[in-house]
Amino acid sequence: MPLSRDQIAKRIAQEVEDGFTVNLGIGIPTLVANFVPPNLSVMLQSENGILGVGPFPRESEVDPDLINAGKQTVTTLKGASFFSSADSFAMIRGGHIDLTILGAMEVDEEGNIANWMVPGKMIKGMGGAMDLVAGAKKVIVAMQHADKEGQSKLRKKCSLPLTGKKCINKVVTDLGVIEITPQGFVLIEHAPDVTPQEVLSKTEGKMTISPECRPMRLD
């Protein structure tokens, strides 16, 4: 069985280290916050201008002046701070964010990512994604291995207009964990019920199976 969205988020949470400042994109990345072990001290950054984002509010705590980058109402944690969007992106571009996790339509062997526009279709805009992939110390993509038509989203070369060039470090999909290396995709973990060969057969780009490749641990 391929991983559920929650399981992908759970696996990515293992990449979060104590003391990290992390920016989470919309979708599966948002779920990662639910699986970060409570004993780790982690600050979540929201690019509209919050460091130290807390859980969603109770009804009595709802404040229209306090929303995250997904425009959802949030709370703040102890040690939080507010700042302008210019300061926020100085933080992002300046390499002060340890990790960003975001979704993608396609990634490729070179570590390129496309996640904002499909030619001929309505463009909603890139938001902060281009700044995040250009500036965060580590970029992890959370996505399904294949699109709705069953086409591999891990491509030899991205066919869609890029969001960023040579910027992705790792991809976690419903089938496995893939590192981007100078030799292309390297499968380092596979979903418990999926064989490495199966992941390979469902990947368009060049992929090798790491000699240390093991089943993902999800408990």
Binding site: E47, P64, D65, I67, S84, G125, G128
Partner: protein, 231 residues
Amino acid sequence: MANKVFTDATAALNDVFDGATLVVGGFGLCGIPENSIQALLDKGVKGLTCVSNNAGVDEWGLGLLLKTRQIKKMVSSYVGENALFEQLYMKGELEVEFVPQGTLAERIRAGGAGIPAFYTPTGVGTPVADGKETRMIDGREYVLERGIKGDFALVKAWKGDTFGNLIFRKSARNFNPMAATAGRVTIAEVEELVPAGELDPDQIHTPGVYVQRIFQGRDYQKRIEQKTLSK
């Protein structure tokens, strides 16, 4: 001290003209200049270029001015919450310049700070860099982006004083401080206007030198786009 205080939005925005470029604060519907947008609606000025991270929703924020076709062009990073926007854009009735959010923030900041252009790593190798100058610096490629200035800047703060000093609240700060610096005329609306001297100088986010006009807004709705509660 020159008098910067206006009675309301209608008075403060009296000379906004057709075809003006407006730099507008706010993120989503958070921290938007509600009173000033209503005044533009009442005034009926047309052909506006709005530099704003988002374009509101169908019935609120800058979405109101899209509905009346008062906006000719949007300079934004994300417009996904607005169905009318999509319609106008696809029909070619609305011009849009998509700018990465951090680049937009910095372009406005630069415009207000006398920096005509700057190099950024954001957008290199993407359609955003098409036709722009690029340069290798210390082994990395950067793209040249221009600063932005507006004929007017419309900002919303929590508290302000009669000199134009502003204090924002929580994440309603967002694009407002940069926008305030980038207007040839900056118009600030505040929830509470106090006499100069009442705000602690150590707590001011935007010094009054950037603000030419200020008024106390009224009837703030502060709509929430995605009210999300803990389970």
